[in-house]
């Protein structure tokens, strides 16, 4: 049973992805990520000396500032800041630069669905651009559950509002291992099957959620390949002027 999507995509098709790094010259790292019409800019400043009052000084601290496109900062922005901060804390190696703060600033340029996943992807690319040491990258995808039970990937804003429920999922990126034994695994599953972050909205059945996880994992492999190609390309043909 097919779902009719307004832009003619199939249920597993992502919108066209575009990513560019080193857009901003003052920031230590920056990236712009767009999925279809959703566009997010991320900038990274750091590491700077000192941590905030309640933070552990034996580890590096990450601070996230989320700037919406219009309107005042409210609970939604605070929640996104908290989710982004905890996601980035789990991928960065925090013990390399203790007692420092790295600031990640997210500016929403346009919101057309799947905003939080785009922001997470942009923030990861900006961290790579700034050279902050990370364990692996985080790859983020939005899955929607339609009323018929079908799972649709990467919805637009209109689709998000019409669907029964949607979930933002963040996975570690897929690993290309040099060793023949394959990728490091935890609990018998490859590392890219684990979820770093999951935020759901709306009611869905438990089986729908597991189905979303499967589709999300398959899409995250595609996204990881896109990231890898993008990073390799930019590193070979870039001539960074200081």
């Amino acid at each position: 049973m097919e779902v009719d999507r307004e832009d003619g995509r199939s249920q597993n098709q992502l919108r066209p992805l575009a990513c560019s790094r080193n857009n901003l010259h003052r920031a230590h790292g920056s990236a712009s990520w767009s999925q279809g019409d959703t566009k997010v800019l991320a900038a990274v400043y750091g590491p700077k000396a000192g941590t905030k009052k309640n933070e552990n000084p034996e580890k590096a601290c990450i601070e996230v500032i989320w700037k919406p496109k219009t309107g005042q900062i409210g609970k939604l922005e605070k929640e996104y800041e908290m989710i982004l901060k905890r996601t980035l804390q789990s991928i960065c190696i925090l013990t390399v630069n203790p007692n420092t703060t790295t600031s990640v600033i997210i500016q929403v340029a346009n919101d057309d669905g799947a905003l939080l996943p785009s922001a997470i992807n942009a923030a990861c690319m900006a961290l790579v651009d700034a050279g902050i040491p990370t364990r692996h990258l985080a790859v983020s995808i939005c899955c929607c559950v339609a009323r018929s039970g079908l799972v649709v990937l990467d919805p637009t804003k209109l689709e998000e509002q019409k669907m029964k429920a949607f979930a933002y999922l963040v996975f570690p990126n897929s690993v290309h291992s040099v060793l023949p034994e394959g990728s490091p695994s935890g609990q018998g599953e490859p590392i890219q099957n684990g979820i770093i972050t999951s935020v759901t909205h709306g009611i869905m059945s438990v089986d729908d959620y597991f189905y979303c996880l499967e589709r999300g994992r398959a899409a995250s492999t595609k996204l990881s390949d896109f990231l890898r190609k993008n990073l390799q390309q930019q590193s070979t043909d870039s001539s960074k002027a200081g």
């Binding site: 409210g74 804390q89 609990q187």
Partner: protein
């Protein structure tokens, strides 16, 4: 910190309390190896939960929920106002979550806590369940699983109920969202919509007694709100291969990866919230968490039913 020789030497000399403060993670891991926690709970068991309905006498509906030491007080007040133009036959619910300094030594009045707006938003998403993400304070939702907003309408286009739900945290000892949701749900099940009538100016007023016969009441009697699928939640902490249900504040601060699952009474997943964290959640861990949550939903349903039937006896 962390040289195994140093802690092995110290652990024979140092008292239990000092060891707990100096090496908190090792202290907990020693317990986890024996499948138990410092407060003698097995890993999958939640703390004792109690609900007291009608804690605030002046409110239309209220409840005090305690999970272990975590205490939440929820109160609902209702007011009549004109509904918005887009939804003329629906009422509104405004949810606010406060963490006053009484609840924890970390929070001071000048420095707003980071946890409060996040829990407030999670609560409004769970109770109202709408896909529209705008954080307006008065949220009108089309799809609401627990409460049908059309029930809150009095006269279509002219008058509807505006419901203010305030939740105060009195003691923060871990699992804040679980306790807040339980208090909110209990307050809604205790809520009685007051009787109102139309006076001569065409305004809605509260009917004082039943003896006022010259005014026809708009709604016949104090009635309860019909609740659809009631959501119940459980927060679990993931640490290596262990899953700990219902963490205390100490456990949450040491092992930071937490997953909150909200299931409603028909076992539909309302929310699965895992905001980052060092430990990755694999499918098997999620399935175990969901099984623990299902068990917890049954326990909480029983506690809520006992509290409601206790009130009705009075």
């Amino acid at each position: 910190m962390g040289l195994p020789n140093a802690s092995a030497d110290l652990s024979t000399e140092v008292e239990v309390d000092a060891f707990r403060r100096l090496f908190p993670l090792r202290f907990f891991e020693k317990h986890l190896l024996e499948s138990i926690r410092p407060d003698a709970r097995p890993l999958g068991r939640a703390r004792d939960t109690t609900i007291a309905l009608g804690a605030v006498a002046s409110a239309n509906g209220s409840a005090l929920a305690k999970i272990g030491s975590t205490t939440m007080l929820a109160a609902i007040k209702m007011e009549v106002r004109t509904p918005s133009m887009e939804t003329p036959d629906e009422g509104c619910i405004a949810i606010d979550f406060h963490m006053p300094p009484i609840c924890s030594p970390i929070f001071r009045p000048c420095r707003p806590s980071e946890a409060a707006p996040v829990v407030a938003k999670q609560l409004s998403d769970t109770i109202l369940r709408h896909a529209n993400l705008f954080p307006r304070l008065f949220i009108a939702a089309e799809i609401s699983g627990m409460i049908n907003l059309k029930e809150l309408s009095l006269v279509s286009g002219k008058a509807a109920w505006m419901t203010y739900l305030d939740i105060y945290c009195l003691d923060a000892d871990g699992a804040l969202f679980d306790a807040a949701l339980l208090a909110a749900v209990a307050a809604f099940s205790h809520l009685e919509i007051p009787v109102v009538s139309l006076n001569d100016d065409g305004k809605i007023v509260l009917s004082e007694e039943q003896g006022l016969s010259d005014r026809e009441p708009v709604n016949k009697e104090k009635r309860k709100v019909n609740l659809g699928g009631i959501p119940f939640s459980l927060t679990c902490i993931l640490h290596k291969n262990y899953i700990l249900a219902d963490p205390t504040a100490e456990e949450e601060s040491i092992m930071e990866t937490s997953v909150t699952m909200v299931l409603d009474s028909s076992s539909q997943l309302v929310s699965l919230y895992k905001p980052g964290g060092a430990v990755l959640a694999y499918t098997s861990a999620i399935q175990d968490c969901i099984a623990l949550t299902r068990q917890r939903v049954k326990e909480l349903q029983k506690v809520l039913e006992e509290a409601i039937s206790g009130m009705e006896v009075d």
